[in-house]
């Protein structure tokens, strides 16, 4: 183990907890299932019973979705989710991971290919027989719709498009795998809204941020992914800011590369990484050239993803959305959508994800919005699944407000 890979002094962490149990009230998983004892018990509590020299027994650690709500509410600053991540990594390193988990965290590798053949892949993924097979063989729950692939990919679109006359200050864009192959319009909207703010967008070489690997406790794999990204992105940030539109990719780049994975250069990178709405809002506050929005008379509901809360930047998307005339936007008062990334696709965890999401579905039912907006692709999938409503990234609506295209 090289120095950079040395884990933090986890033995100290249970000492910082004052056992106030605030995290126990915030944890979406322990709220819906007694099988997960909650952040305090699974983290600082259990840590006193663990020994690095002995095999792990706490199989419930796998039920942590990694939403990090515990960290955001902890008044004592205990990195609870990090502690749980280390425990999960140790448990799964010892027990081994399933082929399903091996496959799912590598979706970045087959994504390009699947997008290229989306005309074949998409209908196939909807076939009952295929879903039944995936369910039975890989334990990917057949009740969960698989995201469709899109072609051309965002990357291809960006490379081949007719770029507008630039000249404005440059900014780099980290689009993330899902935007690239499954929700290309988010990337297009991000580029357009940034250009409308007088920026010239460049897309640096990049690959999967590695957060899916964290979901299965694969710290080694996540570190490998991160190392390659840091190497290429550092060259970019030594001149440009980088914005991201996917909350979870952003969280991974900004908060996990350094404190959790101890990647050299991560701190330098983190200083120049911004959420897209955070960045646009800052430009506007600094009095830089800003786009004006046309009215969109619509009732919208905004949901703040868990990982956005962890970024600790407030709710910049909501603030931007409130600049759109006629848009009646209010917050969805729910803690977590429940999907937890790949978590909610897994057969053994589907019921937990569903149960967590009930609160959100009920809140939406009371609000009766025309449209739902949220920054995270996981949340968008889950809210579509729970409500059947149209769910967009805030930048998609902002882009529509620019173009007076209307969204209805």
């Amino acid at each position: 183990m090289t120095k950079e890979e040395k884990p933090g002094p986890l033995t100290k962490l249970p000492d910082v907890c004052v056992r106030c149990a605030t995290c126990m009230t915030a944890c979406p998983v322990s709220r819906v299932t007694p099988r997960f004892p909650g952040p305090k018990q699974a983290g600082p509590g259990a840590q006193r019973f663990r020994s690095a020299a002995e095999a792990s027994v706490d199989d419930w650690i796998e039920l942590c979705t990694g939403c990090r709500l515990c960290d955001t509410v902890c008044p004592a600053g205990v990195p609870i989710s990090e502690m749980n991540m280390m425990a999960k990594a140790k448990y799964l390193d010892e027990r081994g991971r399933t082929f399903r988990d091996w496959l799912l965290v590598r979706s970045d590798l087959f994504g390009e290919m699947a997008a290229r053949y989306s005309k074949i892949v998409n209908p196939l993924m909807k076939k009952k027989a295929v879903r039944w097979l995936l369910d039975a063989l890989l334990r990917i729950d057949r009740r969960r719709a698989l995201p469709a692939y899109e072609y051309p990919t965002f990357r291809r679109w960006f490379r081949t498009r007719q770029a507008p006359e630039g000249g404005g200050p440059e900014v780099a864009y980290f689009y993330g795998c899902f935007t690239n192959t499954n929700e290309t319009d988010v990337g297009k909207a991000a580029v357009e809204i940034m250009e409308a703010h007088g920026l010239t967008v460049v897309v640096p070489p990049q690959r999967c941020c590695g957060i899916p690997r964290l979901g299965v406790g694969d710290l080694h794999g996540a570190r490998e992914m991160g190392r390659r990204n840091v190497d290429s992105l550092l060259k970019t940030v030594r001149g440009l800011d980088i914005v991201f539109s996917s909350t979870s990719c952003g969280l991974m780049l900004r908060h996990e590369y350094g404190p959790l994975l101890h990647l050299p250069g991560a701190e330098e990178l983190a200083l120049r990484l911004f959420d897209i709405c955070e960045y646009l809002l800052r430009l506007r506050e600094e009095g830089k050239p800003a786009a004006t929005f046309q009215p969109i008379p619509m009732k919208a509901a905004y949901f703040a993803p868990c990982h956005l809360r962890s970024l600790d930047i407030g709710l910049p998307a909501l603030e931007l959305l409130r600049l759109v005339p006629g848009l009646d936007v209010s917050m969805i008062e729910a803690e977590c959508c429940g999907l937890g990334g790949l978590y909610g696709f897994k057969k053994e965890k589907f019921a937990i994800a569903e149960e967590i999401g009930k609160d959100l579905a009920e809140a939406v039912a009371r609000m009766k919005p025309d449209i739902i907006l949220t920054d995270c692709e996981g949340c968008r999938m889950q809210i579509r699944h729970l409500t059947g409503l149209r769910v967009l990234h805030p930048v998609q609506l902002l882009r529509d407000a620019l173009e007076r295209r209307g969204t209805a």
Binding site: K12, D15, R19, R35, Q41, A42, R48, F49, D58
Partner: protein
């Protein structure tokens, strides 16, 4: 209610309960009286160290041999009370290699197995050790749970016919001419007074030996030595860590379950009941032991406590029955005192079984009985029941709300059913009795967040009705708790204490009985 028995044992520590068990195994009826609960004295206030004898090897080879013999016996008869951690005797540069060589030689002579380790080997086994160590020696030290050990000795003795009266204080010795013919006692909870007639009275009260002897106008040479210890929130090492130098204060760290116990000091005490851990002792222990574990100063401490050791000053006893320099069995009848009164004191937790054996051998000899001792081969009743940290952690899995698996104490993962089982047995009479029999309130919060849950359970079981109910019990607990946490109250512990205080004061509206600090006036 007057009682009669063959042997009255005064004192419910390891020695007293050990004697009761030995007598019961040899078919001699006995009755044990204890003014508090079992383990209220030094038996419950020590480091929980299963000595290998290494600590005594150089200076006191007899004590070392005694220790290693009892060490092997206890591993056999009480495996569930012992964690066979092994121990390291660690040499720092200032300790020098000479003592280490003497140590290995002396251990060999006493029959203690040693395994010399290089600094590199020792550091890979115990990564938090000072990297400057010049070597270490592994010996068969271990951790022992004195509470379980004593309670199981008592339980086994009872199942074989012995009787036990806890919270029952001896108020006088009954004289019959030149003999002691029994004791007068008083129940400390009901205030009921009665007499117990007996042929033999055994004074196994440890540091309180002279309190009992004074009732017969006797006194033995006994010095009281206070030893203070600190408890950390987490376990610092897998093994017992000793300094490899002549025995001194502040030279040992004993892993105990989830925590580590740092010890000890040695200061003269006048009274076995009233003493406290001073700030000087806390500073001394942390400073001295951070030589072995350099980052000790950043550690969170949860509690400080002290015990009083009875140290014999043998030249004054004039007794030839002294078995070793560690403990003494005194037949007062044979040294110008009344017949029928025997005092067993000195010694240490490690030799409790041997002390009991010698005492009962003596009683048997006087009674003309020829029954050999069997406590060295008869296993204690709970032997075979494991309670490793892993087993305890798995209790979280069985936990479902309002079901049997409900956890009362979050820090130490004590399930409600464990407390229920103790209550069903019907032997406990006070809150502290329950705490002695479980690890409840022994964790990070020291009971701040779980004792009110326990009181709820007691109320359901109508155990809190007497003596003013839950409120008084709670206040008494908080006062006792405050004594333990006050000496180590800084950093995160202090923050947590503010939270706990606000819960008791603000939410429960608990008011102090007298002016002073709410949530635990100074005792």
């Amino acid at each position: 209610m007057d009682l009669q028995t063959e042997v009255v044992i005064i004192g419910g520590g390891a020695t007293g309960t050990g004697i009761a068990r030995d007598l019961a195994l040899r078919g001699i009826p006995s009755l044990l009286v204890e003014k508090g609960d079992f383990t209220s004295g030094a038996s419950g206030r020590n480091q929980g160290l299963l000595h290998s004898g290494g600590r005594y090897a150089v200076n006191d080879p007899d004590a070392a041999r005694e220790c290693i013999t009892e060490n092997r016996i206890l591993r056999r008869i009480a495996p569930h009370c012992i964690e066979p951690t092994d121990g390291l005797f660690v040499s720092l540069p200032e300790d020098g290699p000479e003592y280490r060589a003497d140590f290995i030689r002396a251990c060999g002579a006493a029959g203690i197995d040693t395994l010399p380790l290089s600094p590199r080997e020792a550091l890979s086994m115990e990564p938090r050790l000072n990297p400057r160590i010049i070597g270490a020696v592994q010996v068969p030290d271990g951790a022992i749970d004195p509470f379980t050990l004593v309670v199981e000795n008592a339980r086994d003795a009872e199942s074989r016919g012995a009787r036990m009266l806890i919270h029952t204080e001896v108020t006088d010795l009954i004289r019959d001419g030149l003999r002691i013919a029994g004791v007068r006692v008083r129940d400390r909870i009901t205030a009921e007074a009665f007499a117990i007639a007996a042929t033999w009275v055994i004074n196994a009260t440890g540091a309180w030996a002279n309190h009992i002897l004074r009732m017969a106008g006797l006194q033995i040479g006994l010095a009281l030595s206070k030893g203070s210890m600190l408890i950390t929130n987490t376990r610092l090492s897998e093994r017992v860590l000793n300094r490899c130098h002549p025995p001194s204060s502040g030279d040992i760290i004993v892993p105990n379950d989830t925590v580590s116990i740092l010890g000890t000091t040695s200061l003269r005490a006048e009274d076995p009941e009233h003493y406290e851990v001073t700030p000087e002792e806390v500073t001394f222990l942390v400073d001295e032991l951070s030589r072995m574990i350099p980052d000790l100063k950043g550690e969170r401490f949860t509690r400080a406590y002290a015990g009083v050791r009875p140290l014999l000053q043998l030249e004054e006893t004039g007794d030839d029955r002294s078995i070793s320099r560690g403990f003494a069995l005194i037949d007062h009848g044979s040294c110008s005192g009344p017949a029928g009164l025997v005092t067993i004191t000195g010694g240490k937790l490690m030799t409790y079984r041997l002390m009991a054996e010698k005492t009962v051998d003596f009683i048997c000899e006087r009674m003309g009985l020829h029954v050999p001792c069997s406590t060295h081969v008869q296993r204690l009743p709970g032997a075979g029941q494991g309670h490793t940290l892993k087993d305890r952690l798995l209790r979280l899995r069985r936990q479902t709300p309002s079901a049997k698996g409900e956890i009362l104490c979050d820090c130490e993962l004590v399930p409600r059913e464990a407390v229920d089982a103790i209550l069903r047995e019907g032997k406990v009479r006070e809150l502290q009795d329950i705490l002695h029999r479980t690890r409840l309130a022994k964790g990070t919060c020291q009971g701040g967040f779980c004792v009110y849950r326990l009181l709820g359970l007691l109320n359901e079981r109508h155990k809190a009705d007497h003596r003013g109910g839950s409120n008084l019990i709670l206040k008494a607990f908080l006062e006792e708790r405050w004594k333990g946490i006050r000496p180590v109250l800084w950093g995160t512990s202090l923050k947590e204490e503010e939270l706990i205080e606000s819960i008791y004061k603000g939410l429960f509206n608990l008011t102090p009985a007298e002016p002073g600090r709410p949530g635990g006036g100074e005792a």
